[in-house]
Symmetry: C2
Subunit: 335 residues, 2 copies
Amino acid sequence: MIKAYAATEAGGSLTAFEYDAKPVGPGDVEIAVESCGICHSDLSMIDNEWGLTGYPIVPGHEIVGRVAKAGAGVAHLKEGDRVGLGWCSSSCLHCQPCMSGDHNMCVTVEQTIVGRHGGFADRVVCGAEWAVAIPDGVDAAKAGPLFCGGVTVFNPIVQLNVRPTDRVGVVGVGGLGHLAIKFLSKWGCEVTAFTSSGAKTDEARAMGAHHVVDSRDGDAVAGLAGRLDVIISTVNVPLQWDAYFAALGPRGRLHTVGAVLEPIPTAAFSLIMGQKSLSGSPLGSPAVVADMLEFCARHEIAPTTEHFPMSKVNDALAHLRDGKARYRVVLDADF
Amino acid sequence: MIKAYAATEAGGSLTAFEYDAKPVGPGDVEIAVESCGICHSDLSMIDNEWGLTGYPIVPGHEIVGRVAKAGAGVAHLKEGDRVGLGWCSSSCLHCQPCMSGDHNMCVTVEQTIVGRHGGFADRVVCGAEWAVAIPDGVDAAKAGPLFCGGVTVFNPIVQLNVRPTDRVGVVGVGGLGHLAIKFLSKWGCEVTAFTSSGAKTDEARAMGAHHVVDSRDGDAVAGLAGRLDVIISTVNVPLQWDAYFAALGPRGRLHTVGAVLEPIPTAAFSLIMGQKSLSGSPLGSPAVVADMLEFCARHEIAPTTEHFPMSKVNDALAHLRDGKARYRVVLDADF
C-alpha cells in the first residue's frame, strides 16, 4: 500500500489515504519520496479549477526522492539514485515531439496529478524518462520546486535563446519569479523585476535583480521605453499589456508562463514596427531539466523555501492560499 | 526640376507636379526612375489614413532605376548601376539597430514617402545604403514590387529562421501573399495558401502552393489541427484567430505583416501548451533585400505584374482600389 494525503472533494482538506501500489512496469521507476514542493497548480487541481480533477486526488508534482525500484529495461537509473519528478510523469518516447526532444509536448503525455496520484505520498511511480537524476552540488532538500516552478521559468530562457547580454524583465516575484531572477542573474543578464509588492523589493535585489519596478504602475513600466529585450511574465492576472510591449526594444519578446484567462489584446502594429513577439511555453523537457540542475549546481542556485512536515500538509496549503509563501513551500515526508 | 505625379489632398487624383532637385549629399545617390510598383500603403498615404501625410505627396516606394549621381563618399555604387529602393530611404548607420544590421529599425529611419517625395517621378534621392543593386538574373522590369511587398514577406522567412522542412501557411493571396508563396515554395517548404477568393485557387497552386484553403472557413482552418509550423498573415482584416492558432503544431508561430487595426485576442493557455508565438515584422534590412534578390535570381522568382505607363497613374490606382490587381501593378516611367 502507498501512504498518501488526498482531497476527496473540490476545495476539501487533505486526509490520510492509502492505495494499492501497482507493479512497476517496464520502463518505469518507483520513487521513495523524501520531499515534495507545493505549486499553485496543486491548489487549482484540489479545487478542480480546470475541470480535470478526479477524486480522491493525491496532489504533489515537485517530488524529490530515491529510486526504490527500477522496472524492466531501465538502464540509466538504479535503486538508491536520487531523482526529481515534476508535472509530467510519462511520455510515449515515439511521437514526433518526443523524437524531437520535446517530451513535454508528447501527444499522449501523462501528468503526475491528472488521472493518477502524485507526490504527497511515501512513494510514486513514473516513466524513467521523467525521473531526472539530481547531481551532486544541488541541495536535494530544497530541490523539489525546481522540477515544476523552476523549469517553468528556466525553459523560456533556453527556448528563447536568451543571451547574457540581454536585458530581461521578470513579472511577479513569487514561486516562479524568484527563481527566474536567480537564473537570469547567473545567466549574465541585466534583470529588472516587476512586483506589486513593495515588501519584496529588497529580497528581489538580494536574489540578483538589478532594478525593481512596480508592476501596477503603467507609467513606470512604459517609462522603460524600448529598454528590455525579453520580458518573462510569471503571473496569471491581466497586465497593462501595452505598457509591457512598449518597454520592449527592437526584436523584443514578451513571454508568458502565467495562464492568464483573459485574452491578451495584441496590437499588430506594435509587433510589426519593432519586430516583437508574444509567446508562451510549458514546462521543459527532461533534457532541459537536466541542464537546469547542472546550472544550479555550478552557480549554487536553490529555491528559497519554507518547510512543513507532510503530516501538516493542510497548514502548508493554507499558508500558500493566504499568499504568505516566501517563496516556495516544501513538504518533508514524515510517514 | 524633378518631374513627378502628386496628390494635393486626401483621396485626390494625382496630377503632374515638379519640384526642385536638392543637391545630392554625401552618402546619397540619385536614381533615374525606370519603373515603380504600387503598394496598398501608397493608397493609405494618398488618403492620409495614418495621419502621416503632407501634401502635395509624391507616392511610390517600389522603385527601380539606374544610379544617376553618386554623392561624396559613395564607393559601392556608381553611375549607371541598376538599383532598387523601397519603403526606407535613409538610416543613420550609427544607432544600435543600424550597427546590428537592423537598418530598417534605425531610430531615425527616413521613409521614402513620409515627409519627402517618392518614386512616381523621373528621379528620386536616397541614402546609398538603401539603394540595393539588382543582380543579373533578376528581371528589372518586374522587380519593383520586390522592394516593398517582396521583402515584407521574405523578411519573416529569414527572421523566423523558417526551415525547408517546415509546413508554412500564407494567409491572403495578393500583392504580398503571392510572393510569399513563390518564396516558400522555392525555400523547400510545404505551402498552404489561405484565400477568401475561390478564383485564386488555381493561380495559387501554379505559384507553388501545395494546398489551398478557404480563409473564411474557420472549420477548414481549424481542421488543419496542429499541422502547420508557421503561418504568415499578409492581410489587414481580423481573422478567426483561434482557428489559426489551432492549426499550428508544437512550437508553431503565427506571424503577421498585415497591420490589422483590431487587437489580436491571444489566449495565453494556447501559447503555453504548444509553446507557440504571435509575432510581426517590418520590411527587411538592406542585407536581407540583397539576399532576397540573389534568391530570386537563383530560382527565377519574379512578381506577377500588370503594367501601366506612369502617365496613366490614376487608372492604375483605380485598378488597385477596385481590388483588380493580379497581383502587383507597376508603373513604367514615360516622362
